[in-house]
């Protein structure tokens, strides 16, 4: 495999994406909403409503959470504990929703887009192997999701520390569980979703169909990762590393299979042309 080819394909896709404001501005808005504005509003409200029925409800919810959650939750007062739990446990799924959605949006268009634009004709007649093309497209789809994950997570950490930190006596975020989640568990989940999405992108007739089918794939991935992410942030132990390792293996195996399945004629609109 020639990495020059992989890098050229991934680079061209990322450059196009960067230049397409219509494409990335909505994704940026979505990432800002999930990583900054919603947590900021939620955590600020929790911190400002002491003594109201709302806090009583949260306190009651906290009391009913699994024992393990209450064991690891920090904070001297019910309000501080409620803020901690909201910041550390309740908002964990956002870490997967945003990057998976972004990567899925890019990946679903990756191969069918080449065919629709006609640029697939050039690639089909070029010395690029289908393995190189697949890996290039995978990287080009992963990078925006990873970037959103890292930047969004940094912004989220800032929001959490600024809003909840004073209640807990200083900056406390990210926790070990979140670091494991962000660096070890979520990336392979995104990769697994993308391996399926790229196969869909290679098979369907239009980008619109690819996007619809991709949303069907991302939904179960998000649901599965929701359960996993809560588990990881609550108990970031050996099982978390195991979950991450298994996810990476699955992602790699699916990538190898996806690369083998990609056919050169998929880049051409051969069914209707002679």
């Amino acid at each position: 495999m020639k990495w020059e080819h992989v890098s050229a394909i991934a680079g061209a896709d990322l450059r196009r994406l960067f230049k397409s404001k219509d494409y990335w501005i909505p994704l940026l808005i979505m990432a800002s909403l999930f990583f900054v504005f919603i947590p900021l509003i939620l955590l600020t409200v929790i911190g400002q409503v002491e003594g109201t029925p709302f806090v009583d409800q949260i306190t009651s919810v906290v009391g009913n959470l699994p024992e393990r959650v209450n064991e690891v939750a920090r904070g001297e007062t019910p309000l501080a504990r409620a803020s901690y739990i909201a910041a550390v446990f309740l908002l964990a799924p956002i870490a997967i929703i945003v990057p998976v959605t972004i990567s899925a949006a890019v990946g679903s268009n990756a191969i069918v887009g080449e065919r629709e634009r006609g640029t697939g004709e050039f690639l089909a007649h070029s010395p690029v192997t289908m393995k190189e093309l697949y890996v290039g497209k995978l990287i080009a789809s992963l990078v925006p999701g990873f970037l959103a994950l890292i930047v969004g997570f940094s912004a989220y950490s800032l929001v959490v520390n600024l809003t909840v930190g004073p209640e807990l006596g200083g900056w406390f975020f990210p926790t070990i569980g979140w670091v494991v989640l962000i660096l070890w568990v979520i990336p392979p989940f995104i990769a697994v979703a993308l391996t399926v999405i790229l196969r869909i992108s290679a098979r369907v007739r239009s980008a619109a169909s690819a996007q619809q089918a991709s949303s069907l794939v991302t939904l179960p991935v998000i649901m599965l990762s929701y359960a996993v992410s809560v588990s990881v942030v609550v108990s970031p132990g050996r099982s978390s590393f195991l979950i991450g390792a298994v996810s990476w293996i699955v992602a790699i195996l699916l990538s190898i299979r996806g690369a083998k399945k990609l056919r050169r004629e998929r880049l051409l609109g051969v069914a209707s042309e002679t």
Binding site: A12, S20, H125, P127
Partner: protein
């Protein structure tokens, strides 16, 4: 004669549609071979099979001594192509598109720039391709196709959608490339495009090659009787030409177009006309146009052409 491309009884179907059907032809090295045929004749599929972008269902294909099915990457490294509707990444500039192609083909940036200069698109390289005219896109596609100095160039309807001026330029550029010894396969349904450029013509219809050969060979085969134009000071004196020895038929098109039984009868015919007082002002052998040849070939095998 060496052949850069050889198709031996190649077939390719898409479902129930047989796009290429037992296609046989050879494209000589260093020559311009024109695949001539109407839309749907199988020209584009032929090009795609030649690079290995598509795999044939049956038959044998050789390109530069290699088999695209097995050595596809090597074939594609040594072949350049201009597709019928050249497509680019529209958000990227012309230069970014060319540099991308250079990286894919392992060519240097300087060769990308040289190619752009050769096809006179260098002035627009910093513009986004989305703003290019059809002519500019074609020239960029031509530049992209030669960026790696390919031994074989496959041009699939390269003048489609171009204005006459741009078409003429593209054909001049093809002549220039042919002059440099490149093997060129030009797919077209436009007879005038192939005129004067083809060393070898392959007439395609319904996915197979009906006839092939050099224009001279095909003319000899399908328009064997020479046609000579006669004109005189007094055109009425040419009325009797149809009755003279060696003249097969006559048509009037301003002057007289006389079809002769063979070239050898021409000196005697001229001598007879002069002896009979015809004051000739013009005697000119007519080279049949490709269009005449095309229709003569079609007439010769009406079953196939239908």
């Amino acid at each position: 004669m060496e052949f850069a491309i050889r198709f031996g009884s190649v077939s390719k179907s898409f479902g129930a549609i047989r796009a290429v059907d037992a296609l046989e032809f050879e494209a000589p090295t260093g020559a311009v071979t024109v695949l001539l045929g109407p839309n749907g004749a199988g020209k584009t599929t032929t090009v795609r099979l030649a690079t290995g972008a598509l795999v044939a269902d049956r038959g044998d294909i050789e390109v530069l001594g290699l088999h695209p099915k097995v050595d596809g990457d090597e074939v594609r490294r040594r072949v350049g192509i201009v597709p019928p509707k050249p497509a680019f990444y529209d958000q990227l500039t012309g230069w970014e598109n060319l540099r991308f192609a250079a990286r894919i083909f392992g060519a240097s940036e300087s060769s990308a720039l040289d190619a752009a200069e050769r096809f006179e698109i260098d002035h627009a390289l910093l513009q986004e391709v989305g703003g290019y005219s059809t002519g500019m896109r074609t020239r960029l596609a031509l530049a992209r196709s030669v960026i790696h100095d390919p031994e074989v160039l496959l041009l699939d309807e390269p003048t489609a959608g171009l204005d006459p001026e741009s078409s003429r330029k593209v054909l001049e550029l093809i002549r220039e490339l042919a002059g440099r010894g490149r093997t060129i396969v030009l797919c077209t349904h436009l007879l005038h495009e192939a005129e004067g450029i083809a060393d070898q013509i392959v007439l395609m219809s319904d996915g197979h090659a009906r006839v092939s050969g050099s224009p001279e060979e095909l003319t000899g085969r399908y328009l064997a009787d020479p046609v000579v134009l006669f004109d005189a000071e007094d055109r009425a004196t040419l009325d009797s030409i149809a009755d003279r020895r060696g003249v097969v038929s006559v048509s009037w098109n301003g002057a007289v177009h006389a079809t002769l039984s063979d070239h050898g009868t021409l000196p005697d015919l001229i001598a007879d006309l002069v002896t009979d007082g015809v004051r000739l002002t013009r005697v000119e052998p007519i080279t049949p146009s490709l269009e005449e040849l095309y229709f003569a070939m079609q007439r010769s095998d009406p079953e196939e052409s239908s």
